[in-house]
């Protein structure tokens, strides 16, 4: 197998440095030529012309978290599957593909089970919290009937 030197990371580092410098230079160089007249009105957060009420850093819907949760599981499983996937071709060529196929399929099956679970429980529905379950509907109906 071909060996490599750490020089392969040099472009990455250079490009990242260029990125940082680009931002710094363009922001600070521009500071010289652009106008700078701050005022309280300018610094107000945009809220369609109204005065902003409270802070934006308020509670957010937990659906965002559930989505990122499913994402991270897929991400990690993907990360584990990448090296296995990269040797699959070679294993097929030497006739041992079956074992890899089996272990990959089991792995994927577990993954699929997770997504099926989330699907069936409604975690993938964006508007879930606005929908009532049948039980809750019955409950409400019962309240109405009593009333």
């Amino acid at each position: 197998m071909a060996s490599y030197t750490l020089d392969v990371y040099m472009p990455v580092v250079i490009l990242m440095a260029i990125g940082v410098l680009l931002v710094l230079v363009s922001v600070f160089l521009a500071q010289i030529i652009r106008p700078f007249k701050p005022s309280a009105l300018k610094e107000q957060a945009y809220e369609c012309g109204e005065d902003p009420v409270g802070t934006a850093w308020a509670n957010f819907n937990v659906r965002f978290y559930v989505v990122s949760l499913i994402f991270i599981v897929f991400d990690v499983e993907g990360a584990l599957m990448f090296p296995v996937a990269s040797i699959f071709r070679r294993f097929v060529e030497i006739g041992e593909g079956g074992v890899l196929l089996g272990s990959l399929l089991i792995f994927i099956a577990v993954l699929v089970f997770g997504i099926v679970y989330c699907w069936s429980k409604g975690d993938l529905d964006w508007v879930r919290s606005f929908q009532l379950s049948q039980e809750q509907i019955n409950e409400l109906k019962g309240v109405e009937d009593k009333a």
Binding site: I94, G95, E96, G97, G98, V99
Partner: protein
């Protein structure tokens, strides 16, 4: 071809995974489960056929694959206690794998037709997948322990499948009966394994052969009986239980309570074959134990006795069940008279045609739907004339009946005739073998008779239950009903198994490669096993160092010219006799049930005692229940109960109570004064004291716990001497 995990393991693992997955999804996704099962068994058929054709390609008698891995090794010093697991594939295994997977695939496909409307459609496939997987694992096993494990697993599956319609009256009892009866044989089987282990120190077939060749069994006696005899007898008892030989045959007829495809799978093609397969594998051991005559007699009695019972059955599946027992008797007879090759060939041919017979019977039963009771009809007296309603089933069944009856050009003739021929040869050598061989010929006659009786009653003549007949739909060709039957019935032709249609050159079509069966399957040459090598079973494709030369068909089978001539001569006689017998059986059946010239009622009234005996299966069930269980086991049980309750309970336990009471008074004093006052109360006080300290520790503040953990860890590390 390489024999590695990815080429061999799928044969067993595909059905097993299908089982494991289906067990969870079967309730919700029945169709998926069924598809998975079928796909798995077809996949395993694919892998099995790769192995089979590889063996055909090499075409060498001695070709084998033996790979093992160590399961556990508890050896200590000079006491070896090591168990290997692995695979042993020779020509017999390869053929067996091909047959089992092939027949099982067709049965799976047929079941999608037969079980379709069943309430537990999916669950059937769960059991069948596990069952098939266990059977395949058994076939691949390289040692007796793993054979035993899968043997028991199959026992469990057959238990579940026989009791499949557990709401049906008798199904539960039948499954229990099958389970318990085979268990009797299994106990002896385990004894046999232990006997082998005590001599050989290993249970691998290869090691057993090598030990036999080295004479390890010589001079090994227990209670004056040779250990080879003990071992062989034990293993043969396992066969008796599993393959339903006399006297443990009683479970198999009851096993027809299960669904018909499962009867085809369990009680024709695979499970009962496992018993015979095992005794073939252990043939050298039985030969060394001097058990051949015993085995031959058991086989002959079973073959004849079961055939006689089949004469009077009216249930179409019961006829087939008894014919199975009878045919298994032939295989065992073949083992007994040293007809190794023919016994195995009969195993294969029988598996094919009996599976087909059961499936055809299933096809018939499934079509006959009694709209009064909403049940399927199995009784032959209510059938008749069905040939016109279901011509394709009729054709398939006719082929198989011809095969089982031993009509020339069909596979049953080839294999059964050779067993009978070998029995005759044995009889000419040793007069005592006349008994089993005559029983065998008589059984062959009866087989032809009752099978054609079944055919005539079912398919010919006038319909006896007009109402039922009218309501039966005309058979439509469908892929999952007729294709399996068609394929199986094609394979009842003798040419697939033997180039010379009698197997012994009566009518010779070809030789060499066409005689693959005779050439490849031979008794294990135990002297070759002393230096055989095994390989590790894993991912590596390490090649065997041995090379195998293709074998050639030897018409003399290694005998001298003179002996061979003698054998051929006798075989010719045997073949002619069995042809005559078969045709006369068919003729009598036709006279009685087709042309109706002879009245069967006459025979029934003449031999009414015998008729009743046959209807009651020679009173063997009654004997077991009334005689052995009620007269023997229950009194024995009562005796034990008396010993337990009257003697042990009354004197030992009650007496001990008196002693205890005396001790108690002493103990009470001690307890009150010392334990209670000093220790218990003292403990309470000390707990209260420490409580104050510990309560502050358990504050519920997590970070405090962190700190504690880290400090304790630090303290631990400081105590380490590094």
């Amino acid at each position: 071809m390489d024999y590695t995990i990815s080429t061999v393991a799928p044969i067993v693992l595909l059905p097993f995974f299908a089982f494991a997955i289906n067990a969870f999804i079967v309730k919700k996704f029945t169709k998926v489960a069924v598809f998975l099962s079928c796909a798995a068994i077809l996949g395993s058929f694919f892998f099995a056929s790769r192995i089979f054709f590889d063996f055909l390609n090499v075409f060498a008698t001695d070709y084998y694959i033996h790979k093992t891995f160590t399961w556990f090794d508890l050896s200590y010093g000079e006491f070896p206690f090591k168990l290997d697991m692995g695979i042993y594939i020779d020509n017999m295994t390869a053929t067996m794998l091909f047959m089992v997977t092939g027949v099982a695939s067709l049965i799976h496909i047929f079941s999608t037709y037969y079980m379709k409307e069943d309430a537990r459609y999916g669950r059937f496939f769960v059991y069948v997948s596990l069952f098939t997987s266990a059977m395949l694992a058994l076939v691949l096993s390289e040692n007796l322990i793993s054979v035993f494990i899968f043997w028991e697993l199959m026992g469990f599956c057959s238990y579940s499948l026989i009791g499949f319609y557990y709401e049906k009256e008798g199904a539960g009892n039948a499954s229990m009966k099958a389970f318990m009866t085979t268990r009797v044989g299994d106990v002896f089987f385990l004894f046999g394994i232990l006997a082998i282990w005590s001599v050989v120190g290993s249970v691998s077939f290869v090691d057993i052969y090598a030990a036999l060749a080295n004479g390890a069994f010589d001079g090994q006696y227990a209670l004056g009986i040779s250990l080879a005899t003990v071992a062989g007898l034990g293993i043969f008892m396992g066969t008796i239980g599993k393959s339903a030989q006399f006297p443990l045959q009683v479970w198999l007829p009851d096993a027809m309570f299960g669904p018909t495809p499962c009867s085809a799978l369990i009680h024709a093609a695979t499970m009962v074959a496992a018993g015979v397969y095992l005794s073939l594998r252990c043939y050298p051991l039985m030969e060394a134990g001097g058990l051949t005559y015993f085995i031959a007699c058991i086989g002959g009695i079973t073959a004849f006795g079961a055939a006689t019972i089949a004469l009077v059955q009216t249930d179409i599946k019961a006829v087939l069940a008894y014919s199975t027992i009878s045919q298994l008797g032939y295989m065992v007879l073949g083992v007994g008279v040293g007809s190794y090759n023919a016994a195995f060939m009969h195993l294969i041919t029988h598996a094919v045609f009996k599976a087909c017979l059961f499936l055809s019977a299933g096809s018939v039963i499934h079509s006959l739907h009694d709209h009064h009771t909403h049940a399927h009809v199995q009784e032959m007296p209510r059938m008749g004339g069905l040939r016109k309603k279901m011509p394709f089933t009729f054709l398939a069944m006719l082929f198989c009946t011809l095969a089982i009856a031993g009509i020339p050009f069909f596979s049953g003739f080839v294999s059964k005739d050779r067993i009978l021929g070998d029995a005759l040869v044995a009889a000419t050598h040793d007069a005592k073998y006349w008994i089993p061989s005559v029983l065998g010929f008589a059984g062959a006659f009866l087989t032809a008779f009752y099978m054609f009786r079944m055919m005539f009653l079912t398919f010919f003549g006038e319909p006896r239950d007009k109402d039922l007949y009218e309501h039966t739909h005309k058979e439509k060709l469908s892929w999952n009903r007729n294709v399996p039957l068609l394929i199986l019935s094609v394979f009842t032709l003798g040419v697939f198994f033997s180039g010379s249609l009698t197997g012994q050159g009566l009518i010779k079509v070809a030789d060499k490669k066409y005689e693959w069966f005779q050439t490849l399957i031979e008794k294990p040459h135990i002297e070759n096993f002393t230096n055989r090598s095994k390989q590790a079973f894993g991912f590596t494709t390490e090649k065997s160092t041995e090379t195998f030369e293709a074998s050639h068909y030897d018409a003399n089978h290694g005998l001298s010219e003179e002996e061979a001539h003698h054998v051929h001569h006798i075989h010719h006689i045997g073949a002619l006799v069995s042809i005559v017998i078969a045709f006369s059986g068919v003729f009598i059946a036709a006279m009685m049930y087709f042309w109706r010239s002879w009245n069967p009622g006459f025979w029934v009234s003449t031999f009414s005692r015998w008729y009743r005996a046959l209807q009651n299966k020679y009173y063997m069930d009654d004997l077991y229940i009334k005689g052995i269980i009620q007269k023997g086991l229950i009194p024995f049980n009562n005796l034990l109960a008396f010993i337990d309750m009257g003697l042990y309970d009354r004197y030992a336990i009650d007496g001990w109570e008196k002693v205890n009471r005396a001790l108690f008074t002493v103990a009470k004093w001690v307890d009150n004064l010392i334990v209670d006052t000093a220790m218990v109360d003292g403990t309470g006080a000390s707990v209260r004291f420490f409580n104050v300290i510990l309560r502050t520790l358990q504050s519920g503040k997590i970070q405090f716990y962190f700190i504690m953990i880290f400090l304790v860890l630090a303290g631990y590390i400081w105590t380490l001497n590094i």
